[in-house]
Amino acid sequence: MTSESSTVVAVEGVALRRQRLVTATTGATSYAVVAFLVGLCVVFAVALPGRFLTGQNIQAVLGDQAVPGILALAVMLPLIAGKFDLSAAATLGFTSVFVAWATGVHQLSTPAAIVLAVLIGAVVGLANSFVVEGVGVNAFIATLGMGTILAGGNLLLTQGTILFKGVPLDLKNLGQGRLLGVPAPFYVFLICALVLWYAIEMTPAGRRLRATGLARDAARLTGVRTSRFVTIAFVGAGALAALAGVLQTGRTGSAPPDVGPSFLLPAYAAAFLGAATIRRGSFNVWGTVVGTFVLGVGLNGLSLLGAPFWVPPVFSGIALIAAVSFSVVVERRSRSVG
């Protein structure tokens, strides 16, 4: 009897220690991507003395990451709800062309053009959710189709040329201006991140959105209107992508017909890096922000080091595959321990 109960205690002890071990490793791996970002900065600071850690370069990185960062937040929303939105980059492209066209060709005021652009993004999201939730088409296919339609819209508005004439100054200021030495687009990115963080982490709606993505059937049977949350995610993604599109035009002061598609992969890479960060195994706002900067700092450092023009896409692609592999491996290991 005594020996039996002491074995039980011993077994419980092992289980407890194991439990602590798991929490400890989980804690460590949750911040591995953050540590990687810090390491990356240290390496570049050492390798590029006086060139990487300068006010000018830091401003460039912060400013450059706003558009890809907002797009990463945009694709993150449907990912949280368990859906892919491959039309986000095309929405960015179309709205970028739209504001250049509306302000430059039709002399619309900048605020009106921005509001219209964000509305267009929201309508695109609504259309996506109608096809995905209403008709029941796989989100991958539906949004791939939507993206291609929007690319056609780019050609229609630009007639195949680059729009740059008449892009108003206030729009360029939004893209290129500074406030307290920090690029204006970075503030927009930060505000977007804060709003999403609040909505997802602090409100009942955010909780229900996450439940929808994690276990749709269980959420539905607990009374969550899952379809509604998928719609909210697509509409939010469209609106955010549109905002990124507006900033893109402001930043470059022009809108070429092929703007958009190249933003898609880095956005997904950032979101997946984010899912391997902070709240490991689920997509989250600050993880996505960190993921965006891993890509931004990496590309910035590599270009300062003189990397040729073909390196950036290779880097983004590797980052996406590495992020997903990392989370898969860590998940498997923690499961086999637990």
């Binding site: 602090m202 909780r207 439940a211 994690l214 269980a218 969550v224």
Partner: protein
Amino acid sequence: MDLAHPDHAVSAPGHASVPGVEVLGVSKKFGGQYALRDVDVSFARGRVTALLGHNGSGKSTLIKILSGYHQAEDGGRILINGDPLDAPVHATAVHERGLRFVHQDLALLLGMSIADNFALEGGYNTRGLLGRVDDATQRSRASTVLNHLGLQLDPRTGVGTLDGTEQTMVAIARALQDQVLGLRTSLTLVLDEPTATLPHSQVHRVFAVLDTARRLGATIIYVTHRLDEVTQLADDVVVLRDGAVAEAGSLAKRDVATLARAVTGMSGTDAAPLVAAVPPPSTRPLRLEVRGLCGDVVEDVSLSMRRGEICGVAGFMGSGIGELARILGGDRRGRSGTITLDGEVVTGKHPWDFLRRGICYISADRRRESCVTGMSLRENLTLGDLRPFWRRGRLQRRVEQRAATSLIDRFEILPRQPEQLMSRFSGGNQQKAVLAKNIRLSPALLVVEEPAQGVDVGARRQIHAGLRALAASGTTVVVASTDLEELLELADRVVVLDRGRVTADVASAATSLQQLTRFCNGEEHS
């Protein structure tokens, strides 16, 4: 093709001297508990042997040992046509020795033709240097098998276009193809409740195929709950109870009643009632009224339930109890009929419409439909109603944690860690959490399917206690379960369904396991 094995050719079909399958001294333990204890049984060639027993009798463990999924404890032996199977038993070795399994999930490739489905198991015939598939031979082989078994089907037909009965027959024909083509003289066919989901009027077609197989000399092991089928089809019966052989031998004069007795282990026609539960006074107000409810399986079901009553819904797989639970819980809509709760008709087509009326539903599929495994225990417990925690523009985590902790204490969910991911809890603790999150909503009606499925004895007791306490507070609890003993233990009243129709509606105190088993087999309560 394995023709070299000596035993396949020894005895001609019908010469039943050597049994097709012999199980000698086989035991199996799970975590110190015997699921099977020293079982000796044999299954004769050219005969259909029905393998009977309630949930937990050891039936499926025995089948899984035969298929090589579980390994028997040391000392047990399995002989196929008189020749021992080497331990450890592998699925491939079992297949080579002529054992074929047809499970409820038929494992057919629905997008392919019958001929292709046959070839994927029996092997492809190829011709030419490049190994092109010889479709003509494939088709003619499949066609021979189908004709021999009396199936008028074109081998080119896509399996997905067939109805459920035809698919079942095709799966059986596929398993029997070597026997029919004369490549083996004695196959063993193990069927695990093949007719559970088929319409009653079609079952005889499956039996006809099995009859042909029996005449060809196959050894057929037929696992079922349906005793009426046993009397129609079987030559022999083996009854397992609590991991041991309770009865074995020729069917002879056994009828449904004697079989039910053998399965439940009771003597006398209707042994003393198992539970002396006090039914709630019939003066309590009515809570739920169901009138003429029809669905895919469920047909014309009418019921009424009172406040504070625990009502069991019993039936075998395919009887419609699952569908009835889903319709009552709001996850599925009936074709016709009305559901009235506290005098008001329940409308709406989504679970949330029903939740708003105070109807909660717990599915039998815990991992997929009850738990958000990727969220913490706290988040699971509170998801159903977040309003109490929404203060000053944000979810107050402290308040939420307190609510979670009190539920964890009340339902003894272990470990007591509200922040641990749901996926890390054991099945029993997950189920306690699922119950807790529903009880928290103080429903007027709780519909729960298989509440104690796959949980240990301790958790089962706690879950039952939780359901009783809920009923005592006035909630009407509907428990749909295939586990008849559980219902007798838990419910005040049991409604029995067979093939979608109510066959009985009796107080638990006035019935017995045996009687319920007969009702599940379609006998009507007078």
